[in-house]
Symmetry: C2
Subunit: 257 residues, 2 copies
DNA sequence: TCTATTGTTACTTTAGGGGTAACAAATGTA
DNA sequence: TACATTTGTTACCCCTAAAGTAACAATAGA
């Protein structure tokens, strides 16, 4: 029926502040170059009765030009200018908001010793923040090459200036990556990738300790990924444990615990 | 009651895609550093029952971190990172939309001989477009120094490469501007600043002719500003008329028309 | 004169956001 | 232990913006 309009484009325009119909009408006008309300309606499927209002508001916003007459003709303003302006306005707004937020919080102290992060982006963000705070050494344990791979370049940079200890459950899985890995062995790997708690399977994907005081553990529970940030003495203890293991060539696991 | 939250900030956050309550909750968390749902509610005025859902969605978006426990504590992710990410996503989206729109229209031909532009931004945009198309000469008539002033730097640039003829209704009003103006005289000025059509007062603010083929006339009707773009033989005729006036030192106005 | 199109108006429906009340569970207190 | 408070959740309501529908007067064309 209405083959001409790319739904992805409409979706993008919506994110830029257009309503669905505004997006359709504007996109329709761009491809028609110059058209009546009816033509826009026929191309886009926007109800004819609505096209008039919609084009009027677009015209007030400066996205559409009007030629008076009977019938009235409409024309789209060059997308370069329209998108450019929207972008500028958004930018101004973002900068202003950031300033105002910064007035509220000069710095964000991390009071608390344990935190849970539930969004993918939040996890990555926090990991990079930890990378930025390393002053001496970073210990990384991982069972997931894809996940670790995302931080390859960050880790390469860290390696230059700090002590970087990388431990994996299975050297073979990580052979593509250009690091000097230590291995825990199969037994430990199977253990951390299948922790059942209350019938829910937890799979540890990654664990990091920075300078023996801050740690982050990333795991999947069900289909969701989650991370826990810990700043407690236990982190220091874990660090020691890892050193012992590195020296003795083995790690002790108390599966009773 | 809730003095702490700047309404401007909330407004900005809304433009960045937050809902009102999301904005309040996030801003509240930023100033509280670390807080329970109740504390956020008390600071921001967001209904307590809603705070839980709102903080949950913010957490899924990665704008807020959660410390499990009883009660649950929440913490805002650094505004720098949050706003930064929103900005990036918006940017990507804008670029994508622009590409998709450009696929629809490789160029926008200006078919039509008369166009009406109703938005402030649209008018300025079109005027600058006309400036960009000048190949030989531009004639500008203005009765409004403020409006013309907005284009001072554009005109200065044009003056270097093309013939620029500036005409005003009253030299005195424009004496601040660094151009060599011609004057029409009071009679003509009064005429164009007070055109009554069907009881509505039209006031001509600005009129431009580029290369004798394209013209734009900006006027205010009531409290709204409007522009008409014309590409008709009449434009050429007007151009001639102006030359005649420049030579003879006067202009004829047929107020009967 | 008749017909189709244009432009307008009034109405319905839907979804999302906001606000309120009420309640079970957990926690704290006399 | 009994009671009160707080926490977290659920079920509602209201309102608005946007989308869709139907009908009609004015205009233009045959």
């Amino acid at each position: 029926m209405y083959p001409a309009i790319n739904p992805d484009l409409i979706h993008n325009l919506e994110k830029l502040g257009f309503t669905e119909n505004e997006g359709k009408a504007y996109a329709g006008l761009v491809s028609l170059k110059e058209a009546t309300a009816r033509e826009v309606h026929e191309l886009t499927g926007v109800p004819r009765a609505k096209v008039y209002d919609i084009l009027k508001t677009l015209s007030k916003k400066g996205f559409v030009e009007v030629r008076q007459g009977s019938p009235v003709y409409f024309q789209a303003v060059d997308p370069k200018h329209v998108i450019g302006r929207i972008k500028d306005e958004f930018f101004t707004c973002a900068i202003e908001a950031l300033d105002q937020l910064n007035e509220l919080s000069y710095d964000i102290p991390r009071f608390s010793p344990v935190w849970c992060i539930q969004s993918e982006w939040g996890i990555r963000n926090r990991i990079r923040e930890i990378f930025g705070n390393v002053r001496d050494e970073l210990i990384v344990f991982s069972t997931n090459p894809e996940f670790l791979g995302e931080f390859e370049s960050d880790l390469k940079k860290l390696e230059k200036n700090y002590r970087l200890i990388l431990i994996v459950d299975d050297l073979n899985k990580f052979r593509e990556m250009p690091f000097d890995f230590k291995e825990t062995g199969k037994e430990f790997g199977d253990f951390v990738r299948n922790l059942f708690i209350d019938g829910v399977q937890y799979s540890e994907e990654c664990f990091m300790i920075a300078d023996g005081k801050e740690s982050i553990a990333v795991h999947t529970a069900g289909d969701k990924r989650e991370a826990v940030v810990i700043r407690l003495p236990v982190v220091c203890y874990l660090q020691k444990l890892i050193y012992n293991w590195l020296v003795k060539g083995g790690i002790m696991i108390d599966t009773q615990q």
